[in-house]
Amino acid sequence: MRKTLVLTAALAASVVVVAGLASTPAQAQSVTFTLTGSSLAIAEPASAAALTGGALTGLAGSSITGALGSTVVTDARGGIAGWTSSITGTTAFTNGTTTIPVTSAVAWVPTGGIATTGVVTATQGTHLLQATGLALTSSAQALVTATLVVGNNTATFTPQLAVAIPANATAGAYTGAVTQTVA
């Protein structure tokens, strides 16, 4: 009797242990906890960037260049996740008569133009010169990518922009828009 009892108890214990190991934790989507890291932010002067203009005769067929304001990405999340800063050609450049599509613009960050603080490796890839610049499109494309992140970090860079002026462009003040995103 005692032997049977011990055997049954041992078997029951084994079954419980095996069941415990085999079961997977329930998907506790409704149970959350609060995070204490801080934010990922991007800053840029609010005023519009002026690209150097000039006489139309000299410019038509070439491109005008300028700098977007100094962009500062602050990663205060305190983790090891990298971030990507991308640029989108949002609105074509127009003076009311001529519209220059966003695909005529290229963006780049000159070599050594990314200043960082904290442990981070931020790179603009091959987009170091106008010749190898990132051709803007209406979709977002990565311009500066940060990896090897440990803890809080910041990166400051000034994207340069060059817009190719078509041969049939008319004179006037052009207005366009780009979007810078960090995620």
């Binding site: 890291g37 990298g82 949002t90 603080t117 981070v120 207005t175 780009v178």
Partner: protein, 331 residues
């Protein structure tokens, strides 16, 4: 090794909240307890849901500029390619843009202030299985007056949402080969070719160790870097920068990469080329076993229980034999 200032992590709850960083900022406020160990779930909205599921998260949007700002908040689609995760515009169609709603959708924030935005994800009952990518975006639209190039600013929290009626698709990746190379400035580096063979996108990080080198030297660990994200089925190189002082080799290189809680290890014997700006031929990497803790414990426990049961059976049979002998002796 990248030597730089190490800023301390933001202290939790001990001091009043620090001012928000300059510009448009966004941060994730909560994450599922089931993913407490996944560092990606602490900064991105990462989840695996069944079709028809619905859940809520919260993000905080901040204005760190010296002037008040009007912000709009919205969900957007995103693409993963060439190792980069890019969040698309508001008008781009996509699963995340359709399934996610945010409240409020516009905010007026005073300088240095922040506000909480509720993010609700409602997956339709007929959603196809697979992983979708997107972002919860806080945007400061550009001014529209005046000539020049106006700039809109956006800060977004990535969304990695895996939809499936069954359990979470397994994440997995393989390290296919290691290539030893030397940069044009003479610095040695290793390229590890990584292939995402699982069912979810990965954000990789890891280390490389060198051992069995000339004169029995060993070196490392050196940190690995990858262009942030590796999509499903994609193959990208992971770069590990090494010290210029290292001899050329041959070395046994062991690379350990991780994404979230998943870890993969591989090794190969490599020799760095002597010429600057050149790469050696890729060497096929051998995968090293690295059991996930649960599998190891479960196997060990199963073996132990098996032995225990066998021992009990044996004891029971012996006891019966003894009883029979006792009965025979008595009778």
């Amino acid at each position: 090794m990248v030597g730089a200032l190490l800023l301390p992590a933001v202290p939790a709850l001990a001091a009043p909240a620090p001012p928000p960083p300059p510009g448009v900022g966004i941060r994730l406020l909560d994450a599922p307890t089931a993913r407490a160990k996944d560092p990606r779930a602490h900064v991105y909205i990462v989840d695996q849901v069944k079709p028809g599921a619905r859940f809520t998260r919260h993000v905080e949007v901040s204005n760190g500029d010296s002037t008040p700002t009007d912000l709009i908040v919205y969900p957007a689609a995103a693409t993963v390619q060439s190792g980069a995760f890019t969040v698309e515009g508001r008008a781009t169609a996509g699963a995340v843009a359709q399934w996610v709603t945010v409240s409020p959708t516009s905010l007026h924030l005073a300088s240095g202030s922040s506000a909480v935005v509720q993010v609700t994800v409602a997956v339709p009952a007929d959603a196809p299985p697979g992983e979708v990518y997107g972002g919860v975006v806080a945007e400061r639209p550009s001014s529209t007056s005046g000539p020049g190039t106006h700039v809109s600013l956006r800060a977004a929290i990535r969304v990695y949402l895996s939809v499936g009626a069954g359990g979470e698709p397994a994440s997995d990746f393989s390290i296919d080969s290691l290539t030893a190379a030397r940069s044009p400035s003479g610095q040695p580096y290793v390229l590890a070719q990584v292939h995402n063979t699982g069912g979810r996108a990965l954000d990789l990080s890891g280390t490389l160790r060198l051992s069995d080198g000339p004169g029995a030297l060993s070196a490392g660990p050196f940190d690995a870097t990858l262009g942030t994200t590796l999509g499903i089925g994609q193959t990208e190189p992971v770069t590990v920068l090494l010290d210029k002082a290292l001899p050329a080799g041959p070395w046994k290189a062991t690379v350990l990469l991780r994404s979230g809680v998943l870890r993969v290890r591989a090794e190969a014997t490599i020799t760095f080329p002597t010429a600057d700006g050149s790469q050696a031929a890729p060497v096929k990497a051998k995968a090293l076993p690295l059991y996930k803790d649960r599998t190891l414990v479960a196997t060990f426990a199963a073996v132990l229980i098996g032995l225990l049961l066998m021992a009990l059976l044996l004891w029971w049979l012996l006891a019966r034999k003894r009883d029979r002998e006792t009965a025979e002796a008595a009778g």
